[in-house]
Structure formats: structure tokens, C-alpha cells
């Protein structure tokens, strides 16, 4: 084992330590949950526009809650780290690629829907591939392998949803079932990881804090 490899491992270990709180999983799960609930609002009380607007405060509340929890609960337990230039450059590349993938996905999805006359299978396949790409990019750049699983679950779930819609008459192209299940898995994993963090990293007591150099 060379020194170079162990330094890379050390850097990865430090970065992975910031993901052990499960908050990213809960955040991703809440985003996916929107897809599960949105069809009900669109088809019942609210139209397309208002059913989208109504999620903005929900999304803002989730972001705010995660920020507060990370600052008040997580940071005192696992500590604070400022990453070096290697990781910062990787995160900049991640943000840029995510932006490109999302915009490209939006355009391809729009074109696929138009050219196939909103054929369920075509849209489901394109959507599945987009989601798989987005989560795979996130898994690779964030060194978080379970995001591959989330991407696969959602991509496959979308196809299963379409099958349920066609063969068993599931409502809203099976969105509530497939995305609801995916969201539950993500939020469940996040909550378990968060609970494990609280168990494994109790707050340092005041006596121990006094021992800081």
C-alpha cells in the first residue's frame, strides 16, 4: 500500500464522516416525496401551477430544518471540517455536472413527451434514466454508494409504476406508490443513520470540553 493511497483513503474517510448523519438521505427522500404527493393535489383541489407552488414552503422548511439540525445537533457531535482544494474542486465539478444533467434531462424529457405523444413507457424510461444518472453522479462525486441504490430504486420504480397503471389500474401512473416507496426507503435509511449518530456520538460533556488544548 503506497502513501498516496492511504492519503486518498484518509480524505475519503473524512468526507464520508460528514455523510454519516443521514440528513442528505432525509433531504433526498423529502424531494422524492413531493413526486408521490403532487399527483393528488394536481388532480383534486389544486391545478398544475398551485400544486407546484404549494411545495416551495415545504421544500424551504425541509432545507431550514436540516440546516438547524446540522448546526445544533450534528456539528457538536461529529465536529466541523473545512475541506481542502481537492474536495472543493470536486464539489464544484459535481455542481456543474448536476446542473448540466438536470437541464439536459428537462429538455430530453420534454422532447420525449412531445415526440412520443406522452406515451407512458417512453416517458417512464426517459425519466428513469434521468433519475438514475442524477443519483449516480451524486453517488460518485459525494463518495456515497447508497445513492446508486436510490437511483436504481427510483428508475425501476417508475417502470413498475407504469406497469401497475397499465395492468392493475393504479392511479396517477403509479406515482404515489413508486415514489412513496422510494421516499420511505430514503427517509427510513436517513432516520436510522441519524439515530445511530445520536447513539454513537453523545454530546461531549463540559468537563471533556474543558480538556481541549
Amino acid at each position: 500500500m503506497s502513501q498516496g493511497i492511504s492519503l486518498k483513503q484518509a480524505e475519503k474517510r473524512v468526507f464520508a464522516a460528514t455523510f454519516q448523519d443521514g440528513l442528505w438521505d432525509i433531504f433526498a427522500g423529502c424531494c422524492v416525496l413531493i413526486f408521490a404527493v403532487a399527483p393528488f393535489l394536481t388532480s383534486t383541489v389544486l391545478g398544475d401551477f398551485w400544486s407546484s407552488v404549494v411545495f416551495l414552503p415545504f421544500w424551504a422548511a425541509v432545507c431550514a430544518a436540516i440546516w438547524v439540525i446540522r448546526k445544533r445537533v450534528v456539528a457538536p457531535r461529529i465536529g466541523v471540517v473545512r475541506f481542502g482544494p481537492f474536495r472543493k474542486a470536486k464539489l464544484v465539478r459535481f455542481t456543474t455536472i448536476m446542473l448540466i444533467v438536470n437541464v439536459a434531462g428537462l429538455i430530453i424529457g420534454f422532447l420525449a413527451a412531445r415526440s412520443t405523444g406522452r406515451s407512458g413507457w417512453a416517458v417512464a424510461t426517459v425519466f428513469g434514466l434521468q433519475v438514475l444518472t442524477i443519483f449516480s453522479v451524486a453517488a460518485f462525486f459525494l463518495d456515497c454508494p447508497r445513492f446508486y441504490l436510490y437511483g436504481g430504486t427510483m428508475a425501476l420504480g417508475r417502470l413498475v409504476g407504469e406497469w401497475l397503471y397499465i395492468h392493475l389500474g393504479a392511479r396517477h401512473h403509479g406515482f404515489p406508490i413508486t415514489f412513496g416507496v422510494a421516499a420511505c426507503i430514503m427517509i427510513g435509511v436517513g432516520l436510522i443513520k441519524f439515530a445511530l449518530l445520536l447513539r454513537d456520538h453523545p454530546l461531549p460533556d463540559s468537563h471533556a470540553s474543558g480538556a481541549e488544548p
Binding site: Q3, S6, L7, A10, E11, R13, V14, A17, P76, R77, I78, G79, V80, V81, R82, F83, G84, P85, F86, R87, H201, P204, A208, S209, G210, A211, E212, P213
Partner: protein, 109 residues
Amino acid sequence: MAEHQTDEAGLHLLAGIDQVVHAPARLMVLTYLYVVESVDFVFLKNVTGLTWGNLSTHLSRLEDAGYVAIEKGFRGKKPHTMIHLTEQGRTAFRHYRESIQRVLDDLPD
């Protein structure tokens, strides 16, 4: 004869190894500090698995050698300590890596 000289060269390099860096706990601390910009005391304690007192002692030693800088402050009402590697510490760590690599490379099987 040539093998004997190689052995000696390796051992001379070993004598020149920086003992402040070479101690396993301090080497671990420096390795983590080398790959980040800065960390706080709690994070360093968690990733290294050292106790409060042990980590505190090793950090003091590294600070005395001028390898790390320790910034004490407050987060709210609680004390908060940030630690980062100084340029001198970064150079010492790089030098240590090169030296130990050379020692191990020079040793015969």
C-alpha cells in the same frame, strides 16, 4: 559489499526521520490535517479515535514544533477549537513521506 552500503544508506535515512511526525498518533493526526483545510477538535477526536487528553497532548507537541496552528474561539457559549496544518507542518509531512519511502525502498528483501 554493495548490499551492505545500501543497508547503511537506508539506516542513515532512518536516523534522520522526524520523530515529531513519526509517532503513530501524531502521524495519524497529521495525515488527516494534510488532506483538509482545517478541522475542529471534536472531529479530529472522532476520526482518530484518540481520547481527549491524548489528542490534546499530541496537538500541543505538534504546536510546539510549529507544525499545527490551534485557534481557540467560541461557538455560542461553548469553547471551540479549530486546528490546521501550518506551511512548516505541511513541508515536514511531505519530507517525512519522502524519507520513509526512501528508507523502505532502499531496504533489501
